[in-house]
Structures are given as C-alpha cells and as structure tokens.
Amino acid sequence: MSDPESGSPARRRLAPADRRESLLDRALELVAESGAAAVTMQAVARAAGVARPVVYDFFADRTALLDALLAREETRALADVLSVAPTALTGADLGDSVTRALDAFLTLVLRRPTTWRVLLSPTSALPTEVGVRIEQGREKIAGVVESSIRAVLGGRCAGLDTEVVALAVIAAGEAAARLVLAAPEQYPPARLTRFTRTLFGALGLTAGPTHPAGR
C-alpha cells in the first residue's frame, strides 16, 4: 500500500492514501478561506508543498478533486447527522426531543465548521456535479429525518405529510447552522436551543408523544 508506483516528486514520502487525504485537507482549507473558486490544481499543489503532477496523480482535474472533497465531507456530515437522529428519541417530550437533536446537531456543526460551511453554501456556486451530489446527500438525510419524525411523533403523525415536514425540519436546521456559523457570538447554539424550548413550551407540546392530538 505504501509502495508508490509513480515516480511522483512528492517532497515528503506519504503513502498514497495519506497523500490523497492531505491534498483534500488542503483543498478544504482553501474552500474555507476563499470559496470553491479558489480550489485549482495549482493552488492545492502549492498549499500541500508538492508539484502539480502529484495532484494530477490523484485527481483527473479540478472538478474531480472538488467532487472527491465533497464526497468525503458529505460522508462525514452524513455520519454526523445519523448520530444525531437517536438523540431525538431520548427526549422526555416533543420539545425536549427537538431541542436535544438541535443541540447535538449544532455541536457537530461547530466541530466541523469548514465542512458544514461548504455543504451549506449555495449549491450552484459549485460545479454542477458537486451540487447534484449535495442534493443527493440532502435526500438521504431527509429520509433519516422523516423516520425520526415518525418515531418521535408516533400516532400523532397520522395525516401529516411527513416528507414535507422533514424538508421543513431540515431547512430550519440548516438555517440554524448558518446562523451559528456566520455569527457565533450573536447566535450561540444556546440561543437557538432556548428558542425551541420556549416555542414548544408555549405551544403546550411538552407533554410527550402520548399527548392526544389536537382533535
């Protein structure tokens, strides 16, 4: 695995898999600093301290590199989100479930701010294939969120269009993440969780999944 079959002029000897990861790390930093447009083969090579052909050993072109980056970040993010879903099920009631899930989600977002900044940027600013990939990631997450909603609401979701409700939950979650990422001092996670707690408390939805439906 550590035998490089190409005579790449890499400055330090890294196993190919490690080299690939490190190139993607540099690309992610570039995106974070200056946006996806800053990611060129040249810029990534320079940031990694290698010659440009080394980058071409791993990625056919810029789009392939961005695609690989997005694939990696999306896998990480998806794993993050999947780990949040069970949190929602531990809530004492609906408001508690929502607040716990939001808190867990925002904690993960702040642990990988760059990843989330990239995934939450307007998709058409990125190459089309990448935008499509992000949309596919959203679809997967939508499925997970929808089953969590069904699990948390139980009988109360009868008659609810849970697919659309899941989309709304995701939209709100993304908006919360954008606020936290864009202005962490103005919008700390605690401000957002206080909001859901107050809202659900005021709406009388703290009585738990067994609380009878409105009518």
Partner: protein, 230 residues
C-alpha cells in the same frame, strides 16, 4: 400610434421593427429573463437577448443602452412583480392597512390564525405561475452582477420583513410569550418558506403549492395551543 414607431426604411429586417418600443422592450426583457433562468446572468448579452427575441442587435440597442441597462430594467421589472405579490398577501395587506379596531377581536383573531397559511399559499402560487421571476431570488449572489445583486438582496430583505410581520401577528394571536426570540423565529421561518418555494420551482408536479401549503398548514394547526380558542 404604432406607425410612429416603425422604421420601414430599414431593409431586410424580419418583423423586428413592427412592434412599438414598449412591447419590444417587454419582449426583450422576457427573453433576458428566460436566459437568466436557463443559464444564469452570465448568459445575458445584447446579442443573446436579440437572438432569443428573433431580432437584430440594433433593434435591442433601440430599447437599451447596453447589457447593464437591460439587466437593470429586468431586475426592476421582476422586483416590482415580486413586490406586488408581497403586497397582495394577507400580511402585506394588514401591514399596509390601518390598525384593526379594538372592538372586533374575535374575527380579527380567527383571520390572523389562518393568515400564515394564506400568505404561504399566495407566495407559492405566484412562484408556480411565474417560476422564472422567482428563480431570481434563488440565484447564488456570487453569479449576479453588483447592481442587480443589491436589488435582489433588497427584495429578500422585504420577504424577511413580511415574515416578521406575519410571525408577530401569529405570536400575538396565539399569545406566544414575548420573550420568544423573534429574530431566530423569522430566520427559521424564512428558511422553511424558501425551501417550499424552491421545491415548487424544482418539481412542481411532486410538490405543488397546494401540497406544500396543506402540509405546512397542518403543522401550524398542530402547533396551535389549546388555550387559543376562547
């Protein structure tokens, strides 16, 4: 009236000279809007717009000084259309109207409770009926030239203001606690409304305005606290 606008002395022009300037201007703007919707602002040039309208470039230059002028006129027109929709929503109307008389609270309360759903329906129906217009709001800012970008930002700010009015009315009608964070509420609400609009744009067959309105309205109903009915 039309006779004064024609330029019959220019030979070999297809039907290009026969429209009055006002109509020609509208036609060119329609073409520009289509081009933006299909391929972004970068696709708009005087040449591309003229070709899309089936006229020669000089005809386009009779109506607009150049690309910047055309884009400014386009965004002005579309902004006015979006504003008209905002003004036609229940929240827009009540924001413009005199404050309600204090002695009609019951009807006022009922009206306000249905209001968010009605506003959403109005918005999503407008999106379905004029998708190219509303797609402008979803154009990534980085791809929009400076001046139109600022105009579109202003329009998004107006949508946010509309939702703030909407939320405040809803909060009052439901007796939501005054310490509920309005800024957070409005940002999350905007994300949900924009998501609904985007779904209508992307796939109106699967996500028609009626479905989005019903689904989100049902959530609002479920959220209505029992104390709100007197």
């Amino acid at each position: 009236m039309a006779a004064g606008r024609t330029r019959g002395d220019r030979p070999k022009r297809r039907y290009s000279s026969r429209l009055p300037v006002e109509q020609r201007t509208e036609q060119l703007l329609d073409s520009a809007l289509r081009l933006v919707a299909e391929s972004g602002f970068g696709a708009v040039s005087m040449h591309a717009v003229a070709r899309h309208s089936g006229v020669t470039r000089p005809v386009a230059y009779d109506c607009f000084a150049g690309r910047d002028d055309l884009l400014a006129a386009l965004v002005n027109r579309e902004q006015a259309r979006m504003r008209a929709v905002f003004a036609g929503t229940a929240a827009g109307a009540s924001a413009a109207a005199e404050p309600a008389a204090p002695d009609a609270p019951a009807e006022e309360g009922a009206r306000r409770r249905d209001q968010p759903t009605e506003t959403l329906r109005t918005f999503l129906t407008a999106v379905r009926d004029a998708p190219d217009t509303w797609r402008l709001l979803y154009t990534p800012p980085a791809t929009v030239p400076d001046e139109p970008r600022q105009q579109l930002r202003a329009t998004r700010a107006e949508l946010l203001a509309l939702l703030r009015t909407e939320f405040t009315g809803y909060a009052e009608a439901h007796g939501l606690p005054p310490d509920l964070d309005t800024d957070v509420a409005v940002h999350l609400l905007r994300a949900i409304v924009e998501m609904a609009g985007q779904r209508v744009l992307l796939d109106p067959d699967r996500y028609p305005p009626e479905r989005m309105t019903a689904a989100l309205g049902a959530v609002l109903d479920a959220f209505s606290p029992p104390v709100s009915s007197p």
